[in-house]
Amino acid sequence: MQHRATGRVARLAAMSLVAALTAWAPAHGGEAADEAARAVVGDLVGEAHAAMAGEAGANDEDARLAELERVIERAFAFDVWERFLLGDHAFEPEQRARFRALLPGFLARLYAAQFGKGLDDAPRLVGSRAVRGDVLVEARIPRADGPPLPVAYRVRAFEGRGPLVIDVMVAGVSFLMLKRDEFGALIERDGVEGLLAFMRG
């Protein structure tokens, strides 16, 4: 654990350095952002895999999900997810707060459902590229019943917060778009409370 924490501090330091270099040398900004994004995604897939596999010490399902939720919470830009997932649907402030509170857990369960079935092998990053100001980091996530899933993490650099994941794509299908569509249909059918109930699982 100590080793993992030390590594994270080192990476944060590296990212800070990268951010500073970006400000100092814009010509090298692309590469730096790319590196920072890869670092964030590397952490995410590694720690998520560890959480789902119980390597983080959690023995039961709930504990593993809680650990995964913490991992996701550190790596995801939830304000972006919230904005896109809710779209123009009218939410009371209190409903929005509950939505926000439920979102990490919901995404953790979703993540586990998608990527929690081939945990014998470790996921690996296979590349990254700039996409309209963001970085798309591509990974291969093993699964039990087929070849590894091609997953792409869209990472955006936020001022003061560093790079964070704003979308996850499996074979080109965006989680954010998929869920925005599903949430919209749910709200149309069952209302905001229906959606919140669905998110609670």
Partner: protein, 884 residues
């Protein structure tokens, strides 16, 4: 039966002596006419060769004018340029010449992809012909508009499309990597498996399943049916027909009869050069002002010689019967030919280019020209039996007929000249040519016939003058009342008459350019029947658009700012969100999401059988059926249909990745130029809410727009304004003609009652013609409106001849050659041009029908009312009727 000089004269009622009765004062006008015509005929008969040489010289000069003659089929120029709606239209044309001088190629298909592909292929081919086109603009194939097309969807539609695209990303990537039937089955299997895991996923794939089922069903029926990719991804499926347009600015060659002819030929070749598979999936039409005019001109020019030949043959047969020999019929036709050539020469010198109305001067002059020849020859036959000398008979005919010929020619010319005073420039031109033509016909008759008869003795051998057979007395007494009743009936119906100013209604509805125009007119997004308002700046445009869009009659008022998509930031954010998905579809490696094994029609059918939705069920059925008939050849053919338009889809998706914010400055120049004039003024385009091809909805639209935007111009404003202007012009001209003819008749006859006996039947014949038009649903239009001046001309001629002859008779006028001449003159006109009623061209057909009705009505009214009125006047106590 032929008569010879000096033979016994047939029995006919005695005329009063041809010369002035002793003791009566000299009636200056009539006597002058009699003396002048007599002297002219005498002079011609004395020097016939010189006279014919003079005619030949006139014809040579006329030919120079004929060579200058052109045809302008632009119906908008048939109205005076200072009419408010013409000024508005001219201002719009000057500011936006591209809107006017264009050709539109419309590509229609129930497969949007096929329409897009054909449009793109045609636009590419035509864009290479910079020598023929100033610009080629195909919105559906324009790279900028394709790249930014998503921004033009409303947000809900954009979200739905992006969601569908997002879910289909790997499907598209798989298909791109393996464009074959096994690849298609595998991609569908993967997508179906993925969709089954997500709520609503199967429903999202329903259009895809349904389309695939339709393609397989077509294959089962032995038909080629390409897969409609854009419809499936757009969520529209195959509903409705897609129409794409290409706007072309041709380089016009005004030295050619058809200035756009070369450009139209290039378009024709480009259409023929399309890939047959593509061409077979679409309908392509060419329309637009230039194409419509070119086709109409072609139709007019093509039909004219046939019409003229038929006219000449039928007229020749009737003339043969009326005049007794082929040589005399030839003489009448030769006289007519001189009239036509000389009148055409005058037209070339006076107006240069004929319009759609004035081109009918040919019809007018045949009707009137033959009239004079028949009357002269018939009268000559009467006098020929009295005297042995041909020359004396000719001179006596000239003197006897002179007042009637001069009066009828003068009144007809005056009536035609009345049309020159109106705002209806098309009819004004016909009026000028007609007036000159009538005088030319008179001069031609009085020159060619006496000279020819003098030179060629065989020409004076005509039939004995025979009276027309009369109906039994009881019927004869009833006929004037029937004529009156018909006239009053027509008068009652007359208020329902209208002028149809829509030039499209003149054209052959089966003509390719007209059918294509109808495709566009039926589509609210493409209808050419829109109005335009010129404004100085953006503020004025915004305010005008807001006022106009508040109207129920207006579907949309769009201007430059409306070409810039609304809510762009939010839309760009959504597109940005979908970017990686689109990128994956366009260039990403396909992911194997299923077990990775082979997928067969049977296995996919089994997977789909468990999915909800009619599309999935239909595809499952079709796949099961296909499994039974599958072969490598069928697989290949099926894949050909499935993937025919797939590369275009991928290409378009790739372009959409380039979407950025659209501003007025970044819009394609051909699009901008449709809304921003060279001087910076802006055009607000006003789209009607309803189909305004019918006059009622059109008037409602134009008047509603005019109430809030008085400067709005365009085809519908032009039609609405033209209908009113022409109606007013025709009424003014008719009244002016009637007043002028009355005054002239009175000046020559000095007898109001006899003038009434000429004009009342004419008035009632006009009422019958107008009423018949209402009853038969034949509104006046640019083609048939010439019936009114022809009616006035023939009506006055017939009336003058019958009235003057009847007033000189102690017995029935029907015992003389005059009614026979009137009848044959009318029948010749009807036989020659009534057959046009059988034409497929609605304008021409309506002209033929109304012309036949008008001429027959004029003769019927003249025969049954004029002699009766003359008899009634005679029975009045008072001074005796003056006779010539």
């Amino acid at each position: 039966m032929q008569h010879s000089p000096g033979a016994d004269a047939p029995v006919r009622p005695p005329d009063r002596p041809p010369d002035r009765p002793p003791g009566r004062h000299r009636d200056t006008a009539r006597d002058t006419a009699r003396d002048a015509v007599g002297a002219w005929v005498a002079a011609v008969a004395a020097r016939p060769r010189r006279a014919l040489a003079g005619v030949a010289l006139v014809l040579v000069l006329a030919l120079a004018g004929v060579l200058r003659l052109g045809i302008d089929t632009d119906s908008s120029r048939m109205l005076a340029g200072d009419l408010p709606f013409r000024e508005r239209a001219d201002a719009l044309d000057a500011a936006f010449p591209r809107l006017d001088e264009t050709i539109v190629v419309a590509v229609r298909s129930d497969i949007p992809d096929a329409a897009d592909a054909a449009t793109a292929a045609l636009a590419r081919a035509l864009a290479r012909r910079g020598d023929s086109f100033r610009f080629v603009f195909a919105p559906a194939a324009d790279p900028y508009l394709v790249a930014h097309g998503l921004l033009y969807l409303d947000r809900a539609a954009l979200e739905a499309r992006l969601a569908r695209l997002g879910r289909s990303a790997n499907l598209l990537a798989t298909l791109r990597a393996e464009p074959s039937l096994p690849g298609f089955l595998r991609a569908l299997d993967g997508a179906a498996g993925l969709a089954a895991q997500a709520p609503g996923g199967a429903a999202m794939l329903e259009p895809l399943y349904a389309e695939a089922a339709a393609v397989l069903a077509a294959e089962r029926r032995g038909q080629d049916r390409p897969f409609g990719w854009s419809g499936v991804l757009g969520g529209a499926g195959r509903d409705g027909t897609a129409i794409r347009t290409i706007n072309l600015g041709p380089r016009l060659d005004f030295s050619a009869l058809q200035p756009a002819g070369e450009a139209l030929a290039v378009i024709g070749r480009a259409i023929k050069g399309l890939d047959p598979d593509l061409a077979g999936a679409v309908e392509i039409g060419v329309t637009g002002d230039l194409a419509l005019r070119a086709e109409e001109l072609d139709s007019v020019v093509r039909r004219l010689p046939l019409s003229l030949a038929l006219s000449v043959v039928l007229a020749g047969l009737l003339l043969h019967r009326a005049l007794g020999s082929a040589a005399r019929a030839g003489l009448a036709l030769g006289t007519l030919a001189v009239t036509l050539v000389a009148t055409a020469g005058f037209a070339g010198a006076a107006v240069g280019a004929l319009n759609l109305v004035s081109i009918a001067f040919v019809v007018l002059m045949v009707g009137l020209g033959i009239d004079y020849a028949i009357h002269f020859i018939a009268r000559f036959d009467e006098h020929r039996v009295e005297v042995s000398s041909r020359r004396v008979a000719l001179v006596r005919s000239g003197r006897a007929l002179g007042p009637a010929l001069v009066l009828s020619a003068a009144t007809t010319a005056l009536a035609f000249l009345a049309f020159t005073t109106t705002d209806f420039a098309g009819m004004a031109q016909l009026g000028l040519i007609g007036a000159a033509g009538v005088l030319i016909a008179l001069a031609s008759t009085l020159t060619v016939i006496p000279a020819s008869v003098t030179l060629w003795p065989g020409l004076d051998a005509g039939p004995l003058p025979r009276p027309l057979r009369q109906p039994p007395p009881a019927i004869g007494r009833a006929l004037p009342w029937l004529a009156l009743a018909l006239g009053l009936g027509g008068l009652a119906l007359a208020p329902g008459a209208r002028f149809d100013a829509d030039p499209m209604n003149l054209r052959d509805p089966d003509a390719a350019s007209v059918r294509t125009h109808d495709w566009l007119a039926a589509d609210p997004e493409l209808t050419p029947m829109r109005l335009s308002l010129l404004v100085g700046d953006a503020g004025a445009a915004r305010a005008a658009a807001a006022r106009l869009e508040a109207l129920d009659e207006v579907r949309e008022a769009r201007w430059l700012a409306d070409l810039v998509p609304r809510d762009q930031q939010a839309k760009l954010e959504l597109i940005d969100l979908a970017y990686p998905s689109i990128l994956h579809a366009v260039e990403g490696p396909p992911a194997v999401l299923g077990e990775g094994g082979a997928v067969t029609p049977e296995s996919l059918a089994a997977r789909l059988a468990g999915q909800p939705g009619p599309g999935a069920a239909a595809l499952a059925r079709e796949l099961s059926a296909y499994a039974g008939r599958r072969s490598p050849e069928r697989d290949e053919a099926l894949a050909g249909n499935i993937f025919r338009h797939f590369p275009m889809l991928i290409d378009r998706l790739g372009r959409q990745l380039e979407a950025k914010e659209v501003t007025p400055e970044t819009l394609p120049e051909p699009l901008r130029a449709r809304y921003v004039a060279a001087d910076g003024r802006l055009r607000v385009e006003i789209v009607p809410a309803a189909d305004i091809r019918a006059p009622g909805p059109r008037a409602a639209f134009v008047e509603a727009v005019a109430a809030v935007a008085p400067g709005a111009a365009g085809p519908s404003d032009m039609m609405h304004g033209a209908a009113r202007a022409v109606g007013r012009a025709m009424l003014e001209a008719t009244l002016l003609a009637l007043v002028g003819c009355t005054l002239l008749g009175w000046a020559m006859l000095r007898d109001a009652a006899r003038v009434g006996a000429i004009l009342l039947p004419l008035f009632l014949a006009a009422a019958v013609t107008v009423g018949a038009g209402v009853l038969l649903g034949l509104p006046f239009n640019y083609a048939n409106v010439l019936v009114l001046p022809l009616l006035i001309g023939l009506g006055i001629d017939s009336g003058v001849h019958v009235a003057l002859r009847a007033s000189r008779m102690s017995g029935s006028v029907f015992g003389t050659s005059t009614p026979r001449a009137v009848l044959y003159s009318a029948l010749t006109t009807v036989a020659a041009f009534g057959t046009l009623g059988l034409s497929h061209h609605p304008g021409t057909a309506s002209m033929g029908i109304l012309l036949a009705i008008a001429v027959l009505a004029a003769v019927f009214m003249t025969f049954n009312l004029t002699p009766a009125l003359i008899r009634a006047i005679r029975r009045r106590p008072g001074p005796p009727l003056a006779g010539p």
